[in-house]
Amino acid sequence: MKYFEAFGEGGFHSAFMTTYAFGALAFEDIPFSKLRGAGCRNITVLADRGMVNQAFSEFGPPRFAGTSYHLVKADAPGVFHPKITMLIGEAKGRLIVGSANLTALGLGGNKEQIASIYYSSDAPENAKYFASALAYLRRYVPQDDQWFPVCLRRAMRSAPWLRDDELDLTFDARGETDVNFLFDRPEITVLDQIVACLCDDIVERLVILSPYWDAQLRGLALLRSAMDNPVTDILIDGTLGGFPASKLSSALDVSLFDVSSQTEGRFLHAKLIIAQGKLWDHVISGSMNCTFPALMGPTLLGNAEAGIYKRAARGTAIEALGLSSYQDARVEGDEFSRLQQSFEDVTTSEAASEPAIDGGSLILKSGSLSWIVPAKLPTAPAIICLYDRDGRSICEIDAENGFVAYDVSPDALRPKYGIVKFANGAMSAPVQVVDLDCLAVTTLPPTAGLQAAFDGYAP
């Protein structure tokens, strides 16, 4: 099954998703429409604030966010990077964790790696992972978000299996399970979670597939050190991005392999850590590149990340993941300097790009619009320009005091998004309006519909 086909499966009423990059057009065209078509209406997406702002600046605001699903701009000290899709039904659940963003590339263009955990009456022990994921999302939703609590209540109300107060949401560090759900936690880094999952198995070979690396290979050094510096094979797509190959000279027992010939022309975006132990193969997949910010997390100003640990029989994982021929593609000779040069070129070009300006949040509730001021302002805001869903200008509101209030009369055009204009002429990225009045109706289950609203189902 292709990843995007998972969204068309019936039997789910709620979907909670996280992503780093957010492609509004691709998301609304494929996962969103498939979910809605399959009867799943209670949909929430958390996406990295910087990526959302950049995407909206360049490609315009989304058509349905704020009116038919909830989009939350999430922050992390590094970047908000986890890629989780959690589908919740009355008696079943599917938790998909991987490397795929909610973009066209993530959904169909890249080579990605995803892993799933299912809940059903046959696997009740997995309910804890879903409850953990919900608790994790709650950490990244801003305190003043008014719609997420409603989404959460609705999801829990229609999923009795998630309402078990006995579920243990702490990280299981005993290392006794074949599956575990990893994500950044204040009390333990992702790296330490990985080590705990190994359960003292002695790692004989470490195989790492990662599209991005930090310049000093600090993430690699930490990971290897945590496993007593085993023989390590690094798998990269040598046609893209390069690799800080000069830093490898100091690392013994580390080999580099270019697996670009196995990618069928697609960008290799999957991230995998395979620790071949004396007892088992340990496979960690998810959003984590092999970098310091990914493995050490927000406590050390790193990223929000999520992954899944799976344990397999010794010597089986490499073949099962389709990587058995990687050793035929060893990088040698001049290739090292070419990869180093490519890596430096990428680093230089990306450092030059200007981030889009955040415009905060716009909330429309009971016909009254309010503005939540962004955490960082380049200068004093002057006005907020409001637009309808077709991009037509509705009005401009004075925002000099850092707060606006605007009433939308019942027969007036409803604002769909706004742009904050600052005193120095700068403009924010488009800010989609969270239309609570609209969301209250459009996100109801299809069979309940208006009747449920009349019955007081709406919050």
Binding site: A21, M51, L105
Partner: protein, 398 residues
């Protein structure tokens, strides 16, 4: 005796890898039936029609009878081969009489086929008369060339030598062929810009660049003064000595030679020339291309440029590159991904950047003029030496 056995390959129930055609029903319904219906040879079933198959019209049955008379014994040989799924080389050679270029001049089949193709029957409708106009235009071109010119040359001639619209006797067909070429040129220019964008992305580190960065680099290839409006730029280009044909040919050559900067510059020159030319033909463009703005066409693009005619040319060009070319590609690819599960992105938004994925080739479209020329050859109106006496007589007839 050598025999070709095609019984399995033409059996619709054979395994797909053994069949000539993947579609069990063959290509008739999808490719030929609609065109034959337009010529009055077939009646296509309507919605709710109990017979889902196309049926022959009276004129088609007459044509079939005429063909049958001409074929003689070859007809039964043909049907026998069809039924058995086998044919000997000797029989196959004798069936050569069925080829269209073996049409016997002066025969009933020849006369009837000529009348049908040229829309000369009493039952001829508007589509037949338009086909007749096109075929007569082809005859005129061949008559002045003393040979059959290449199709590209014919399209350019029809674009450049448009009859005055006020002449009452002038058919609309020449103007439609002008529009066809203008639309095709606009598409070629946009595709040239998209290909240039892909080339630039492919050369970048990690094969990616922001949309704004890509747009700015593309615009840097266009020579335009800071204070020049789009109207001023386009009039300068249109009034210059270089024709649209020269702009287009140079642009295609630049694509072949991978001269990206020149390719972008020439694409904008071509668009400017088309813009001015199309503005002079606004009534025709609006009248014949009044479809939904959902589809990009010469009309929508000229409207877009005309609305911005007083704006600085550099801004207009940047908007055109970003909104009308790059984002349009992403939008269309997203629709295909959603509706057909087909991943056709040539570049893809990726973590705040656009990432290169694949190239495509840019080439002028083929409006089936090659086939029309072949038909005129088959019925003897033209040959390798140009127009025939029979063709001249047809041209002289009203």
């Amino acid at each position: 005796m050598a025999v070709i056995d095609f019984s399995v390959s033409s059996d619709p129930d054979a395994a797909e890898e053994q069949r000539y055609l993947r579609n069990k029903g063959g290509a008739f319904g999808a490719i030929y039936a609609t065109q034959m219906a337009e010529m009055g040879l077939l009646h296509l079933p309507g919605a709710g029609d109990p017979n889902p198959n196309p049926v022959c019209s009276d004129i088609a049955l007459k044509l079939a009878d005429a063909l049958s008379n001409e074929l003689g014994a070859a007809e039964s040989e043909f049907f026998k081969a069809v039924e058995t799924g086998k044919v000997s080389f000797t029989t196959l050679k004798s069936l050569g009489a069925m080829k269209p270029n073996h049409l016997k001049f002066g025969s009933d089949e020849h006369k009837l086929l000529t009348e049908i193709l040229l829309g000369k029957l009493n039952t001829s409708g508007e589509a037949d008369l338009r086909r007749r106009s096109t075929l007569r235009m082809l005859l005129e071109v061949v008559a002045t060339s003393a040979k059959i010119p290449p199709v590209e040359q014919i399209k350019w001639r029809w674009f450049e030598k448009l009859p005055e619209p006020q002449r009452e006797s002038t058919s609309i067909v020449p103007r439609l062929w002008f529009l066809y070429q203008a639309c095709d040129l606009m598409r070629l220019a946009y595709e040239a810009i998209l290909v240039a964008a892909l080339t630039m992305l492919e050369r970048k580190p990690q094969r990616r660049l922001s949309l704004e960065g890509l747009t700015n680099e593309l615009v840097s290839y266009v020579s335009v003064a800071d204070d020049q409006t789009w109207e001023e730029l386009s009039l300068d280009i249109a009034d210059g000595a270089v024709t649209a044909r020269e702009h287009a040919q140079a642009m295609l050559e630049a694509i072949d030679l991978s001269e990206t900067a020149q390719q972008v510059h020439l694409a904008v020159s071509l668009i400017a020339a088309l813009f001015v030319r199309a503005l002079d033909m606004t009534d025709l463009v609006e009248e014949t291309m009044s479809g939904s703005d959902y589809f990009q066409s010469l009309r929508t693009e000229v409207q877009f440029l005309n609305q911005a005619r007083s704006a600085p040319a550099r801004h207009v060009i940047a908007d055109m590159f970003r909104e009308r070319v790059i984002k349009r590609h992403l939008w269309v690819a997203a629709r295909k991904f959603r509706n057909q599960n087909a991943y056709t992105f040539h570049m893809e938004p990726d973590e705040g950047q656009l990432r290169y994925r694949s190239h495509f080739s840019v080439s002028p479209s083929s409006p089936r003029l090659t086939e029309a020329i072949r038909f005129l050859c088959d019925i003897g109106l033209i040959d390798d030496g140009g127009i025939t006496q029979f063709g001249l007589a047809e041209l002289a007839a009203t």
